[in-house]
């Protein structure tokens, strides 16, 4: 379970890096305008860092909420899918399970949330600094 969580967090971290990098690229001209009106580099870092943290934190909260709901109603979901598509999902005679097993472990939820938020904060720094380093002249000239 921990191994799966680590893989999920790494994937999420890469998603945040690529998402923010694309955002910085799309907002090149806006960053140049902000610089031209005297907005400090540290403020630009703050803007993109905050975006990363907001995305990461809200995604963590949303993911946990969805995961908990999924865990609680996993058996209902299995029954619903089986009846809707007229198939036997995880049949008892093969899997030896009378119902889908699921366990909500508060310690795991807490640890995974903290880890993903910390990783989000760390990975948001790189695109934020990239945004601050943009050359406003090039951006205004070529955008």
């Amino acid at each position: 379970m921990i191994k799966d969580s680590i893989i999920n967090i790494i994937v999420a971290a890469f998603n945040i890096i690529s998402g923010l990098t694309i955002l910085v690229k799309n907002k090149t001209k806006d960053i140049a305008i902000l610089k031209s009106i005297g907005v400090l580099n540290k403020s630009i870092v703050k803007i993109f860092f905050l975006i990363g943290v907001i995305i990461g934190t809200s995604a963590t909260a949303f993911g946990i909420m969805l995961g908990v709901i999924f865990s609680i109603y996993i058996e209902n979901l299995r029954e619903f899918l089986s009846s809707t598509f007229n198939i036997s999902l995880f049949p008892e005679e093969i899997y030896f399970l009378s119902k889908m097993p699921s366990e909500i472990n508060l310690t795991s939820i807490f640890l995974i949330s903290i880890c993903s938020i910390i990783i989000t904060i760390i990975v948001s720094i790189f695109p934020a600094f990239k945004a601050a380093k943009l050359d406003p002249i090039q951006a205004l000239k070529y955008e």
Partner: protein, 225 residues
């Protein structure tokens, strides 16, 4: 009248595949309370010169002094603060942030010098009223005409009460009537004892300045307009 902005032996080279010298030992003194028009063919270095004066770019050689204080181009932070407080910039087009309303575009510039949001908003509203666009304060740049956008851009340039206004072809993409209105708004800033430098291809507007500067071969030739 003492010079407020002093350019001394300014050279600017661009090292692309070939080394291009855009400005060549350019020296000139600008006085506060005067309007200067900057003319010259495309590629003559008008925008480059404005970028150097606005401290967005740095010269290859030479020095710039504001009010007798020499600019240290290594101190980016100080120069950014100086630009926010003392220099207002207007570009030809698309110089408003597209995701922000006219009002937000204005007060963002004010926030850059540490004003609190309430004061910044009040200042922005007052300026929008002054330029006759208060009814458009909630409109995004895409909902404004070219002339209206340019008026908002000029308002943004003056919101922090700068000493210098730099305009890079501010009327370039506008029809003659709108261009005249924009120019009048810009020219009006002279009364506030500001130094205004604008680059233009339009000789009609260039001649309305106190001084007409021609950029040729990387140097300035000045005439009283």
């Amino acid at each position: 009248m003492n010079s407020f902005l002093e350019l001394k032996n300014i050279s600017k080279n661009f090292n692309t595949e070939k080394k291009i010298r855009v400005l060549n030992k350019l020296s000139y003194n600008f006085k506060i309370g005067k309007v200067y028009s900057l003319m010259g063919p495309s590629g003559s270095g008008k925008s480059t010169l404005l970028n150097l004066i606005s401290l967005i770019d740095r010269p290859t050689n030479g020095s710039i002094k504001f009010d007798n204080i020499q600019v240290n181009f290594n101190d980016k932070n100080k120069n950014d603060i100086f630009r926010a407080k003392k220099i207002g910039i207007v570009y030809q087009q698309n110089n408003l942030l597209p995701d922000f309303t006219a009002l937000e575009n204005l007060y963002l510039a004010s926030l850059s010098i540490n004003d609190n949001k309430k004061i910044a908003m009040l200042k922005a509203e007052k300026l929008l009223k002054k330029i006759g666009l208060i009814s458009r304060s909630d409109h995004f740049p895409s909902q404004l005409s070219g002339g209206e956008s340019q008026r908002v851009a000029i308002a943004r340039a003056i919101i922090n009460d700068p000493d210098i206004i730099l305009a890079d072809e501010p009327t370039g993409s506008l029809d003659m009537k709108t261009a005249k209105d924009i120019f009048a708004l810009l020219n009006n800033q002279k009364k506030r004892n500001r130094l205004i430098i604008f680059a233009t291809h339009n000789r009609f507007f260039a001649k309305k300045a106190d001084y007409l500067l021609e950029l040729t071969n990387g140097s300035i030739k000045s005439t009283n307009a």
